[in-house]
């Protein structure tokens, strides 16, 4: 059955949902978003028996195709609404796309959240954890910078799910804490990040991404 479209359940401004929405901009898939009441009320709608029957973990983002096919986990949803170009058109490219998607989840998301959440006032600030997270972010940006020294995009010559996933996992960092003096070292990452978010398909979902000017401190 040819895939035509479906509904993405999420809360507003969910960077994990952005992955699928940007992918759909490239693939042309029709993805309807339900993220605000009355259609979808995060915290209630995802706890109803009907939702849990389709998505047993009750997590968002969650995707339901017009054909009834249900899939959860943001990388799986983004992969499903993509096209072969985004997924990696060769075995090597497909493996590299999965490599960077895993890299984003396992190496970027934990330290990025540890550093950023206290500045949003949603988590207790812990100096030691924040300092450690900063060092991990530097390491991650260093790996990306080296890789992007000779490349425009992470895999091959065009945007793939790798770029989409890593950009989305870096969004909060670039918007909230990577002030110019911190990010100046990573010129290739900055160039790559700005190139991506200025692509019309990214802009259609993210709008204008303003890079952080002053590192946000924790919001006591």
């Amino acid at each position: 059955m040819a895939f035509d479209g479906g509904t993405l359940y999420t809360y507003p401004e969910n960077w994990r949902a952005f992955k699928a929405l940007i992918a759909a901009q490239y693939s042309g898939a029709t993805v309807k978003v339900q993220s605000t009441p009355p259609q979808f009320h995060f915290g209630q709608s995802n706890k109803t028996p009907e939702f849990l029957q389709k998505f047993p973990l009750g997590k968002v983002p969650a995707f339901e195709g017009d054909d009834g096919f249900c899939v959860f986990e943001s990388n799986a949803i983004a992969h499903y609404v993509s096209n072969d170009e985004l997924r990696g058109s060769s075995k090597v490219a497909a493996a590299q796309v999965i490599q960077w998607m895993s890299f984003a989840d396992s190496e970027i998301v934990p330290p990025a959240s540890t550093w950023v959440f206290p500045t949003l006032g949603i988590m207790q600030y812990n100096k030691q954890a924040t300092e450690h997270a900063k060092e991990e972010v530097k390491k991650v940006l260093g790996v990306l910078d080296l890789h992007l020294q000779t490349r425009t995009f992470l895999v091959g010559e065009r945007v793939t799910l790798a770029d989409i996933a890593v950009v989305c996992s870096l969004l909060w960092l670039y918007k909230q804490v990577l002030e110019p003096s911190f990010r100046q070292l990573y010129v290739n990452v900055n160039r790559w990040f700005v190139t991506c978010v200025n692509q019309p398909q990214f802009k259609a979902v993210l709008g204008e991404v303003k890079l952080c000017e002053k590192m946000a401190q924790f919001d006591a």
Binding site: Y11, E13, P110, A129
Partner: protein, 31 residues
Amino acid sequence: MAMEFLLQERIWFEKYRYDDAERQYYERLNG
């Protein structure tokens, strides 16, 4: 509002501690 939702995310904040401990364990094991 979206900030509050972020807290619902399942983030393994302690991952680095587990990664470090696992690495040290296997480094010791492999002498």
